[in-house]
Symmetry: D2
Subunit: 154 residues, 4 copies
């Protein structure tokens, strides 16, 4: 069974949420487990999409309480690790899909790439390493393309 | 939904495994999620009992690879945290049941009690704090008693 | 250079502090680095003893801010890991001295023993593993005895 | 006392090492503590520069053994956390200087920015968040400029 991480910010617009929800739905349809940070925004939208399509959704929370989890998680894990939980998310997944995203998402991308996990991006950070010009994140243009690319890369 | 941790060593005798399996089964029958360290021994036996009774079992692994998980986990989370994953197990549960157990189990008992989570013991460490004589682990005598006590305490 | 951990509660009586301070002083006199949890009580007293004797003291804090460190630390490291920082303390030391102590101390003893690090106790937890009757913590009666025993065991 | 993190890869060219060493030296001259990942490459060069200028250098290692630390650390802390130790580095510093760097460095930049810590870059990742075009890393052109900028920002 494939574990696909969906990473993104805890706040987002309705159209960003709609994209994340579609990503979640496509993951569940392909019988993969969705791993996320368990909170609001992109994480909640992806969890909603997967949950409503009958998928298994694990939220790996930074705080000490499950109460901070969104309502669409099959299992909410309170880690108490703070931002170090980002490393746990990256470690637990086979492949990650970054949707938009801020600094936390950036750190998860970095951690995943460090661990050798492929990362697919949907309108997320463009990473250019000065002088080396590496583009490590595989850019996709739609939810379906992102999930199919993720499964292919994993 | 209640999250019950089952903690114990990665190696155990057949009769110890049998007790752990019964604990897992009783947890699943009561529709609680079983959280464990995901490896062999007591963890595997409890996971087997819960899985076969239709329960949801989460294994929180110390290493970087899901391959080290036992075959009865609904979801195996590779944390890469080493022994620090014991703190994640304690944090993620509402209550823990310690079955026999070595030093790792001892650390999880300590972490859980520090976080204010109740711990039920089945033939596990007896903890006596010198001069204060505190007995912090609630001792049970059977799998059913342990699970019922855990649910009551949570 | 030897790294000796001193573990104990964040609150203590004046006589407990006095013992911890003596332990810290003896550690510094033997040119070992003192590692502790960085907070008040036993940790602060041990840090004070070592600092005043010219020793190097590292505090590994659970929270996100150095402000929670006591004033006797050479370096205060805010980890943001919560109670999982106990595993870092155990991992960073060659040997640990537990002075009195509550559940957090118990967890550090368990983690250290799991990692194969010797633990010396001064009026701390007595650990009896049911049926196996193991006494894993080396009991000492005085600060000097504890530090000498720790150095011998490391 | 200011804590300045120096982050970069575990392998580097001689000229990259020379720049890192100068950064370390400038940090020590300004009486700041240098925090790094404790290993080879950029980390070792920066540690060397600081140590030889009389500075205090803390290495926060990913593994379980101090042996993996470079020889210029005042204190080497084995965390056993794997890549999650990157979050500890970011948390422990007031400001970070990224020198060149790969994916691990990228994750540390993301974690630091997420925690609200300023990051100064020397020939490191250029971060462009699609559509928002944020440039979160303060670019410097020399070791002295980087350290002075870091102190100003902290």
């Amino acid at each position: 069974m494939l574990y696909i991480g969906v990473i993104g910010t805890g706040e987002c617009t309705a159209s960003e949420a709609s994209l994340a929800e579609e990503v979640g739905r496509e993951i569940a349809r392909r019988k993969a487990v969705l791993i996320c940070g368990g909170r609001r925004g992109i994480m909640e939208a992806a969890a909603k999409g997967a949950k409503e399509a009958g998928g298994l959704v694990i939220g790996i929370l930074p705080g000490k309480s499950r109460q901070e989890g969104n309502p669409y998680l099959t299992v909410a894990l309170a880690t108490g690790l703070g931002d170090a939980r980002n490393a746990v998310i990256a470690c637990a997944c086979d492949v990650l899909i970054a949707i938009y995203g801020g600094y936390g998402t950036l750190s998860e991308i970095g951690l995943a790439l460090k661990m050798g996990k492929p990362v697919v991006g949907l309108f997320t950070w463009e990473l250019v390493q000065k002088e080396k010009r590496s583009f490590a994140v595989h850019q996709a243009r739609s939810a379906v393309e992102a999930v199919e690319l993720a499964i292919q890369l994993a």
